[in-house]
């Protein structure tokens, strides 16, 4: 039977709202959360009641692993944008293991993790923060290597969500010279179902939306080639940027605080990596939708892309350094030097060739005009 989109299908059942009110979340806050999350997932608003229902029905266990990271993603999630969003998601999820926020310690914590893996094999969600070292004994927890833990936890999970650039692509720990042999989750556990939510930190709205998508549809959202969900990473920052009109116009800030910068011109010449970065920062923004780097006057540094740090630096130049040359030499200076050297070399060759005798063809046929 076809539901009429104008009628009840858009409303959340009264008993669900009452339950959330009993937990201290006002119906206004709950509906705001469901609406915002449905919008973040780029779903039509008719899905909003399904989202609300899914939050009601499920309470999947979560194991949150942290390896070589700075806890920035946990922080971003716990202080997520809307005051109640974290409350709602933390209420919905059963977070059985999270090194930063769990009350248990030592053997008790390890037992809780082992129990979840055993009882909910193939049903729980693994969230991984930080990259996984493979050299030496870096980041061993409870006497086990990070790689060993990741293989067990992610290998038995229904789905693994790699949060932050370190877990998704290796991030800062994997930057040259990569002393710990750091790997991303996908590289470390090739068989696992991994969804990447890169960013430094990830945007909590995207994690919330991913979890809600999983609860609502039982599957992970559609992804790009790099395993990032299209709803959040399907468009380039540059193509949604509020400064884009200045880019197309040819109006650029040349330095921080100059006339162009004060007028909100494009930050392209200050090394903004918006043209090479896919993320929904311009639309979702950070901190309750207050702002994001480009809005605040600093170029994007490409934190949601693979190779972040190595190939996105220097942050204040458009292009990476040319390997083997000093940091002060840009590729275009080298190229200009190359072209000039070519011209000089052929100039010398030309002078020598012009005075060369006896190499011209068909000398006997040349008729010298008087």
């Amino acid at each position: 039977m076809q539901e009429d989109p104008r009628s009840d299908s858009q409303s959340v059942p009264e008993e669900i709202l009452q339950k959330w009110e009993a937990r201290g979340v006002s119906r206004r806050d709950f509906i705001k959360f469901c609406t915002a999350t449905t919008a973040a997932l780029a779903l039509p608003m008719t899905f909003m009641p399904r989202v609300a229902q899914a939050l009601e029905d499920n309470r999947p266990p979560v194991i949150w692993l942290e390896f070589q990271g700075c806890t920035g993603d946990s922080e971003a999630f716990l202080r997520s944008n809307q005051p109640t969003a974290a409350d709602i998601i933390l209420d919905v999820l059963s977070i059985d293991y999270h090194e930063t926020i769990m009350a248990a310690a030592g053997h008790l914590a390890e037992e809780a993790k082992a129990k979840t893996i055993k009882d909910y094999k193939g049903k729980y969600i693994a969230i991984v923060e930080g990259s996984i070292p493979t050299d030496g004994a870096y980041c061993s927890i409870g006497g086990r290597s990070a790689l060993d833990i990741a293989r067990e936890v992610c290998g038995n999970a229904a789905a693994t969500i790699a949060v932050g650039n370190c877990a998704a692509f290796g991030g800062l720990p994997k930057a040259a010279p990569n002393p710990t042999g750091a790997l991303s989750v996908q590289e470390a556990v090739p068989g696992a179902t991994v969804l990447n939510l890169p960013g430094c930190p990830l945007n909590a709205t995207n994690l919330t939306a991913t979890v809600v998508h999983f609860l609502t549809f039982g599957t992970l959202p559609a992804t790009d080639r790099l395993g990032r969900p299209l709803f959040a990473y399907g468009k380039r920052i540059h193509d949604n940027c509020e400064r884009r009109a200045h880019f197309d116009a040819g109006q650029y800030a040349e330095g921080f605080g100059d006339a162009g910068h004060r007028q909100g011109y494009c930050l392209y010449k200050l090394g903004c990596k918006g043209p090479e970065t896919f993320h929904n920062c311009p639309t979702v923004r950070y901190n309750e939708g207050v702002s994001w780097p480009v809005m605040a006057g600093h170029g994007c540094i490409g934190c949601s892309e693979p190779g972040f740090w190595d190939n996105k630096s220097p942050f204040y130049r458009r292009l990476p350094n040319v390997p083997g040359f000093g940091v002060e030499t840009t590729v275009d200076q080298l190229g200009l030097g190359l072209a000039a050297a070519t011209a000089a070399a052929f100039g010398v060759h030309a002078v020598a060739s012009a005075f060369r005798k006896g190499d011209a063809m068909e000398e006997d046929k040349v008729k010298r005009e008087e």
């Binding site: 116009a249 040349e254 590729v331 190359l338 011209a360």
Partner: protein
Amino acid sequence: MLEIHYVWQWPLRICHWVNALCVVVLSVTGYYIGDPFAIVTTPTPYVMGTVRFVHFLFGYVLLISLLVRILWMFIGNSYASWRAFLPWLTPGGRRGFIKMLRYYTFTGKQITYEVGHNPVAATAYIGIFALFLIQILSGFALYGQYAPGGLWDSAVGWLLPLVGNQELRLVHHVVMWLLAGFIINHVYSSWLMDIKERNGTISGIFSGYKYIEPRDIDT
């Protein structure tokens, strides 16, 4: 006895000059896109937008021109054939290559006299085709980022995770400068051959005709 040979057929000459125009336009517009040196102050400008449009337009023109040229390698005359670019495959070609290289380095007296490309030039042109291919692949991969899942992203977007989009940009810049170096070399060598071979090397790419003394031809 000097003979007049029709060497460069008209599709080849058109491709040559279209390529030349593309290299110039794409280099100038591409340099501006990489480093927008002119700051615009007029009230309603669209400078970068226009420059990028021209760059993409000429990217398509170069692509079409190259496809035509590759087609012509199979249906054109023997001087345009793909075989003309592989002098190394024949003993005569290998001898001619060494002879030409010795001429350029002042260690040999005689030019390798050919109706079409000499073996060193032909080898250089293989390199130029490779550079054009790199520019087209990297250029369209970078261009395709505006529409993930679109035509160009599906066709060449796989290069982005493979090489990295910043690395691809770096390559796109480096190859532009290599092409600039090639043009300097190419114009100089054409001039040198024009005065030394006396067979209409430069006029040949305008008219198609070269003036050949059959007894001097290296085989």
